[in-house]
């Protein structure tokens, strides 16, 4: 398989118009069509709508593969756009004219192509797996509707040639994530987690929106390739661009769960496990990575913005890996692991290593989806998320065990599994960057090595606690059905092999995914042999330490009094970040501020109104008595007639008070008429 791709990539030198590549808009369209079809007819079909979703996403996957092959065999990248709506003069593109053109467009190149394959491929696996996992769910059809909608939105985001369309897809995946995290909404905890995810990412999206506005004003367009060209040509730059780029980055910080907005992702594990695999591991959370990668030329022109990206990412990967070490809930281990790995990808982009970042996105999608689906299989068997209820499962669930091991080896970065190659690329690139004199490069490299160590440690712990030792749960766990095991094996094969695409020198991945002007370092003994050897030794040491700590219990970590207790407590409280947000932001807004506003509303504003009203009524009473009854009535003849008519209507109103008000009303009308008559 590798060979044919290899040949294909070599042929890329001679470009031509592709046929399939021009049809790639079909890929996002198909899941949208299936969303509507499942939503309206799903309940009436025998499969509850799942076959519609599988068919649509499966077809989209095939088209994505064909399109990618078309690209790899030399078809042009395609950019097309249609006007969505516009304001003002079509020629006046910029903000100053008050005009604005919004487009729907497609931008299909290698980056889109690889994302399409990843998104549709993982989505297809998750669809198939869910027919087993969600089998008895009361909202089965709705679940598949939301999966389709999610897939469509994600693809719409990926194919976007402009930031507005990206925003549409971006918010679309966000709301699907909200639906799916809160799928089991009978429990308040779950619906609260859904709201937390939605709001936290939306706070990032405020920045994202400002970033889009900023770029629109600086560059006069929402078009992504145009903005990139402007940045490459030096037509835009300076502090304004840096501010805009940093604001834009807030979106990815929320969506891709970077520090400090990462807090929603662990809670998002409240959703069904297939959802975690699709949305919170392989696809939606990489939307932020994708976006920064798409806009990388802009970031490179934006001064220190890229260093900020690198540093935020470095913090993220380290703190999340630390948290993964102490979790009992297996999904939370994987959630923190995902945050940490997203940190790797973002850090790669932060040091300008475009290819390495996307490569890790690609391999991670495969092996992390595998791990989540494997965890789902375990949870399905033992009816608990907690590893303290597992143990010894390798005997009961051989397929889950074998595939999960492959995924774990890939995550820990063990040769020759997928994660090894991609993580190594990132570390090598950051070291290059560091040697070239970049402090951010050093930070990413050192933190990346540390994180690699922690990763191997928590992976070891997770595997030991689930598959080894004695079973600690209740009942007799069983292997999951074929619909769940098949996707596991497919993804396991992927996790074992996709890394080979990116082997230095002979791999093809770097030929596909490359930025114009990005330098690929030639093979060097130091970077390509020694560095991987060191990381392997590091991972081996972490594994041995994990074995001593969690299997042999030689080193006690989670009890009071041990030298690690303070660190453990600190990690257990998630660095107290949630407390800071609750105590520092949410509670003050929710209680004192909102309460005070409401109190002002009720007592001051309404008090004034009621006071005035009372006064008015007193005056009105007099008016009615003295002026209306004795004065105006005969002064204006018409008014008298009106009052008579009104009496007929007013008999419906029981209250004596309201009659008085009504009389005041008609007195007022009478005054108007008099006024008009006299002027």
């Amino acid at each position: 398989m590798n060979g044919s791709f290899f040949l294909a990539a070599e042929a890329a030198a001679s470009s031509r118009d592709g046929f399939i590549t021009s049809l790639m808009w079909l890929v996002p369209l198909l899941p949208f069509v299936s969303t509507i079809a499942i939503g309206f007819f799903g309940k009436k079909t025998k499969s509850g709508g799942s076959t519609i979703g599988i068919f649509a996403v499966g077809t989209a996957f095939v088209i994505s593969l064909l399109g990618f092959i078309d690209l790899a065999s030399g078809a042009h990248a395609v950019e097309k756009a249609w006007t969505w709506f516009q304001l003002g003069d079509p020629g006046g593109h910029g903000a100053e004219s008050g005009g604005l053109v919004l487009q729907f467009g497609m931008n299909y190149d290698f980056l889109t192509g690889i994302m399409f394959v990843v998104v549709t491929g993982i989505s297809l696996m998750v669809h198939i797996y869910s027919t087993g996992y969600m089998h008895d769910d009361s909202r089965y059809t709705w679940f598949f509707t939301a999966l389709s909608l999610f897939t469509g939105s994600m693809l719409l985001l990926v194919i976007a040639n402009n930031l507005m369309q990206a925003l549409v897809g971006w918010e679309g995946v966000g709301v699907c994530s909200y639906f799916l995290i809160g799928h089991y909404w009978e429990e308040k905890e779950n619906s609260s987690a859904a709201i937390k995810a939605f709001i936290t990412t939306r706070i990032g999206d405020v920045g994202f929106l400002f970033g889009i506005f900023g770029l629109f004003i600086i560059g006069g367009t929402f078009n992504i390739p145009e903005l990139n060209h402007l940045a490459e040509d030096g037509a835009i730059g300076g502090t304004t661009l840096m501010i805009a780029a940093l604001l834009l980055f807030l979106g990815p910080v929320g969506k891709s769960a970077q520090f400090p907005l990462h807090v929603w992702l662990p809670d998002a594990m409240a959703g069904p496990t297939p959802v975690s695999a699709l949305i919170h591991a392989a696809t939606m959370v990489v939307a932020g990575i994708y976006l920064v990668a798409r806009m990388l030329p802009v970031y490179e022109a934006a001064g220190a913005a890229l260093d900020v990206v690198a540093i935020v990412a470095a913090i993220t990967m380290l703190i999340a890996a630390g948290l993964a070490v102490i979790q009992d809930d297996i999904k939370r281990v994987l959630a923190y692991s995902t945050i940490s790995q997203l940190g790797y990808m973002m850090a790669a982009l932060g040091v300008g290593a475009y290819t390495a970042g996307i490569f890790h996105l690609f391999t991670h999608a495969v092996f992390k989806a595998l791990l989540f689906l494997g965890a789902g299989s375990l949870i399905h068997a033992v009816h608990s998320n907690n590893m303290s209820d597992m143990g010894g499962l390798r005997k009961y669930m051989p397929h889950t065990y074998k595939t999960f091991m492959i995924g774990s080896l890939a995550l820990a970065g063990i040769f020759p599994f997928a994660g090894f190659f991609s993580k190594d690329e990132i570390l090598a690139s950051s070291l290059h960057h560091a040697v070239d004199g970049s402090p951010a490069g050093w930070i990413v490299f050192v933190v990346g090595m540390l994180t690699a160590f922690l990763t191997a440690l928590y992976v070891t712990r997770m595997v030991i606690k689930t598959f080894f030792g004695d079973f600690r749960g209740h009942g007799e766990p069983h292997e999951s059905p074929g619909s769940m095991v098949t996707p596991l094996w497919i993804l396991a094969i992927g996790s074992a092999t996709v890394g080979l695409l990116g082997i230095p020198v002979i791999g093809v991945f770097q030929d596909w995914i490359t930025l114009p002007g990005e330098e690929h370092h030639a093979f060097s003994f130091g970077y390509n042999i020694i560095l991987p050897a060191v990381t392997m030794v590091l991972a081996g040491f972490a594994g041995w330490l994990g074995y001593l700590m969690f299997y042999k219990d030689r080193i006690k970590v989670d009890i009071l009094g041990s030298p690690f207790a303070w660190a453990y407590r600190f990690l257990e409280n998630k660095y107290y970040l949630d407390d800071i947000y609750m105590g520092g932001v949410i509670r003050p807004v929710q209680y004192p501020i909102a309460r005070f506003t409401y109190w002002t509303n009720q007592h001051i504003l309404d008090g004034v109104v009621n006071g005035v009203a009372a006064g008015t009524i007193a005056v009105a009473d007099q008016t009615y008595d003295k002026l209306d009854q004795k004065g105006i009535d005969y002064l204006v003849n018409g008014a008298a007639g009106l009052t008579g008519v009104s009496g007929g209507l007013l008999k419906y109103i029981q209250s004596g008070n309201i009659q008085r008000y009504a009389a005041v009303l008609f007195a007022a009308v009478a005054i108007f008429v008099a006024l008009l008559a006299l002027t």
Binding site: E96, G98, S192, L665
Partner: protein
């Protein structure tokens, strides 16, 4: 066909219908209901003629008529619409048949109810079509009275207080406007109430200021802008469902419409001068409305307060002085009408079933009434501004319009978007999610056919505008551009405030 006076016929069809319904014996409830439905549908059909014959690219008044009325006083019957009023007229006539359906279960004093509803429609259509100040004022007051009775007679427990408060607030505003209209009448060289004749009347800045403030008082109460909003939650909450729908969807828009139609073009210099103040009030309204909404225990009141926030966005868009803002503001008037109208209908459906509006009395309704729950969430998401649904387009245009003119002013407004997500999703969680705890909630019936019919057109438009706003914006833009030019056409706003100067 285009010679047919669609607009004028549309205005008076409901009133004529009201008179005819007056002839039906009052205990023939079903006949009255069907007749009302027929009349409102007929009016809607006639306004479709308006829509079809509307010339898209023109910024001028169209499709109206002009006739002398009281010649000695310069009063004429003069109507016409442009891109600003077109969709207000359409929104009114579109919502009215749905409101008749909403009111199908009204059993007390059926006849006057529908007569008032139809009279209200004529008043509202007239407000958006009148091009004579006297005629405008007449319609303005004429829409006030039926609403007063709708709230006062068919409302809930505290209806009398709410109706009176609504009436007094708007009346005080109207009075000031009346005085200003009269002043304008005399100030014009050739005494006339004609809007087009009064445009461009040269006024000293001091005079402009006073007159603008008088108009502004009337419109700001109606919009409403904080702190003149306190009538709104009471009126919305106590009104019968159709009343709440019409209040939120159309009556509030009369205020915003007045600002665009009269406030800015008649007194551009004064309006320009007051832009910072009005924008400040709008932004305060956005945040204030959202915060107070979050604290509500009564679901209907929560939605009422959300209107304060949404209308804040509308006013912000109108006064930022960019085409994006103005077009977005006008489109958002339509959007808010659809989304909030639908939300009030849904709350009304819950009330019909459970006879309570207290959020705490609900919970887990997604289990017993999944379709109502799904629709509520759908409409809530449109109100939050989710892309693909209508609210996004308007909100986005207003925000981008604000950003290009005033850059960082937009920050607090944008947090209003986040707050909207908080209070609506939180309300959804408490009403529809969680366990089903009480028996009435467990046995609550899901949506019925009549309710599907009354909600489906709203939902369809919510999606349509979200996906394809072009036909709307194409018609709004030319007229919006004209008003923006009137607002900006001077050097009062310093050039530094213009776009391209991001600090």
């Amino acid at each position: 066909m285009s010679d047919f006076p669609f607009l004028d016929v549309a205005i008076f069809v409901p009133l004529g219908g009201a008179v005819l319904i007056g002839l039906i014996p009052k205990d023939r409830h079903d006949v009255i209901r069907w007749a009302s439905l027929f009349v409102t549908l007929a009016a809607f059909a006639v306004t479709l003629g308006v829509l079809v014959n509307f010339e898209t690219s023109s910024a001028d008044f169209q499709l109206g008529s002009q006739a002398e009325w009281i010649k000695d006083w310069g009063i004429s019957y003069s109507t016409g619409i442009d891109g600003i009023s077109l969709f207000m007229v359409m929104l009114t006539s579109f919502l009215m048949p749905l409101c008749v359906l909403v009111s199908w279960r009204i059993e007390t004093r059926v006849k006057p109810y529908f007569i008032f509803l139809l009279a209200l429609e004529t008043g509202m259509l007239g407000v958006f079509s009148a091009l004579d100040m006297f005629l405008f004022y007449l319609f303005w007051e004429a829409s006030l009275v039926p609403m007063y009775f709708l709230i006062g007679m068919w409302g809930y427990q505290n209806r009398l207080y709410a109706a009176m408060k609504f009436f007094l607030f708007t009346l005080v505003g109207s009075l000031l406007m009346l005085v200003a209209i009269l002043f304008l009448y005399f100030a014009a060289g050739d005494p006339s109430f004609g809007y087009r004749e009064l445009l461009g009347t040269p006024l000293a800045l001091d005079t402009q200021r006073l007159l603008f403030l008088a108009f502004f008082a009337s419109f700001a109460v109606k919009v409403p802008l904080v702190p003149l909003h306190t009538w709104l939650p009471d009126a919305h909450t106590e009104a019968p469902t159709a009343g709440s729908v019409m209040l939120a969807a159309v009556l509030l828009k009369m205020g915003a419409y007045g600002l665009i139609r009269f406030g800015i073009p008649l007194f551009p210099d004064a309006a320009r001068e007051l832009v910072p103040v009005i924008m400040g009030l709008a932004i305060v309204g956005i945040i204030y409305g959202a915060l107070v909404a979050a604290m509500q225990k009564d679901l209907k009141r929560l939605i009422a307060y959300s209107s304060v926030a949404h209308l804040g966005f509308v006013v912000l868009g109108i006064f930022v002085g960019s085409l994006q803002g103005m077009s977005g503001g006008i489109l958002q008037m339509v959007n808010h009408g659809l989304s909030t109208g639908a939300l009030f209908m849904l709350v009304g459906m819950l009330y019909d079933r459970r006879h309570t509006r207290q959020i705490a009395d609900f919970g887990g309704l997604g289990k017993s009434a999944p379709i109502i729950a799904g629709l509520f969430l759908f409409v809530a998401l449109s109100s939050i501004g989710l892309p693909g649904l209508n609210g996004f387009v308007g909100e986005f245009l207003i925000l981008v319009g604000t950003y290009v003119r005033y850059s960082w002013w937009v920050v607090p407004a944008t947090f209003g978007v986040v707050l909207a997500a908080i209070y609506l999703l939180w309300a959804y969680q408490r009403v529809f999610q969680g366990p089903l705890t009480s028996e009435p909630n467990r046995t609550m019936p899901d949506i019925n056919v009549r309710e599907v019919i009354m909600l489906a057109p709203l939902l369809a438009l919510i999606v349509f505008i979200g996906v394809y706003p072009k036909p709307f914006l194409d018609r709004i833009n030319p007229s919006a551009e004209k008003v923006v030019r009137q607002l900006n056409d001077s050097s009062v706003i310093p050039q530094e405030g213009l776009a391209g100067e991001v600090p």
